[in-house]
Symmetry: C2
Subunit: 240 residues, 2 copies
DNA sequence: TGACTCTATTGGTCGGACCAATAAAAATCC
DNA sequence: GGATTTTTATTGGTCCGACCAATAGAGTCA
């Protein structure tokens, strides 16, 4: 059968510049902290205009691969990547309609279940202390009626829990999903009751006792009620 | 205590253009398929040069938010995002040393465990058929001694399994991790034995029987041996 | 010595020109 | 009249050359 040929993107010069620099990073030739030649030199050695080089550099900057700084000893420095981009990608995919709220919250529930189990096994006293401090802070904000400020603290709870797995990738994955969740939470508005706080204290007790099944049960129950709430609220404010 | 202030990025005009367009997308004012005014018009209405607008548009293009096409009725069209960017982000973070191989494979193991459990409950006959076909194809390539071609088929197995969860976000998360794994696999080279294939047939049998615990056990065993193998190989070729 | 100024380097922006791709409109041919 | 070819207007892609803005180091002066 006739195969569907590759889309065959136009060969933009700026893309070729971008690709070549990317390859040097991938091959390890360019490493974090290294400095690229000035734009004018790059333009000359690539045999293209400065504008083309700039477009490439700006694209690289956007993906956290390089950071540009002006000035005498400035230039384009190889960066360390940007974990936040993962969350940005999801947010974009959601905003543009490529993923649904249901899929997001479902995946988040599964991920959080896993995280809870791992955290149960690995959380240190320091982790538990950080989680407790987070709930205390949330309670303080609730009493101060700063409901919207409370949202970010509540979100941070999940990131702290992910951190208790002591796995950087898991922290990033959870962080990405929570980035999107943050939008929902702010749209829905901050809760005015202390049910979440009470649930979290119960959860932390289970976690401290290393009772994974009980902790997961507590978490699941809370998240599922939250899912229903978000779904109702977002349905009331269609964004498309 | 004195808070660490925000890094305070310079206010580049091209960034402001980028931000404004992004905001219109986030607010829902610009939706997938819409067309932006031509660069020249944008430049005029923003009161900046065409170059500044171009840089912004190229950045947006890189993140899949818009796609640019030349020609009479061309222009900048709002896209649908690019799921591949999540994988790219991880690859960059790994290449730049912000995440370790251990963290990646560990997270991957956890994710895959979850996926196996969900797939056990949700996989349709069609999903199972696709997985079986994938293993058949791998076996065919093995017999043909096309070991390197086999790698991509083996990678695809995991993506197919993720697809069996019928959750788009899970597919993306798994796809992102497998993007990075693909690099490892190609560096390590294709296996010349059929242990993986046999293990997969056993796995599929468990999956078809909806025996989640057995399927997870099979998967875990396989992945852990793989992890050891990658770690040894990558240690032999330090990339930094 | 110390604070200030100058200067060279490098990213950021501009404007205007031309090329390349593309689709609609116009002209041409059968 | 209809199909085909040519023209043309629109729009992204590139280039050039100039100037501005930030910055670190050298040089200067009290």
């Amino acid at each position: 059968m006739t195969q569907a040929f590759a889309p065959l993107k136009r060969n933009r010069l700026s893309d070729q510049v971008l690709t070549q620099i990317q390859e040097r990073i991938a091959s390890g030739e360019l490493r974090s902290g290294d400095k690229l030649p000035p734009e004018r030199e790059l333009a000359e050695s690539f045999g293209v205009s400065r504008g083309a080089v700039r477009e490439a550099l700006r694209s690289l900057e956007r993906t956290g691969l390089v950071s540009l700084q002006a000035g005498a000893h400035g230039g384009a420095f190889i960066g360390q990547g940007d974990p936040g981009l993962i969350g940005d990608s999801f947010r974009n995919l959601y905003q543009l309609g490529s993923v649904s709220l249901d899929a997001l919250t479902e995946a988040r529930l599964w991920l959080e279940t896993t995280i809870t189990r791992i955290a149960c096994a690995r959380a240190t006293d320091k982790d538990l202390a950080a989680l407790t401090a987070n709930v205390d802070e949330a309670e303080r904000l609730l009493l101060a009626k700063r409901y919207d400020d409370k949202i970010d603290i509540h979100i941070e709870f999940h990131n702290l829990l992910a951190r208790a797995t002591h796995n950087a990738v898991m922290v990033m994955l959870m962080g990405a999903l929570m980035d999107v969740m943050r939008d929902f939470a702010h749209t829905a508005g901050g809760e005015r009751h202390d049910l979440t706080i009470k649930a979290r204290r119960r959860f932390l007790a289970k976690l401290g006792a290393r009772d994974a099944d009980a902790a997961v049960a507590e978490m699941t129950e809370h998240l599922e009620s939250l899912h229903v709430r978000y779904r109702d609220r977002m349905k009331a404010r269609p964004q498309r």
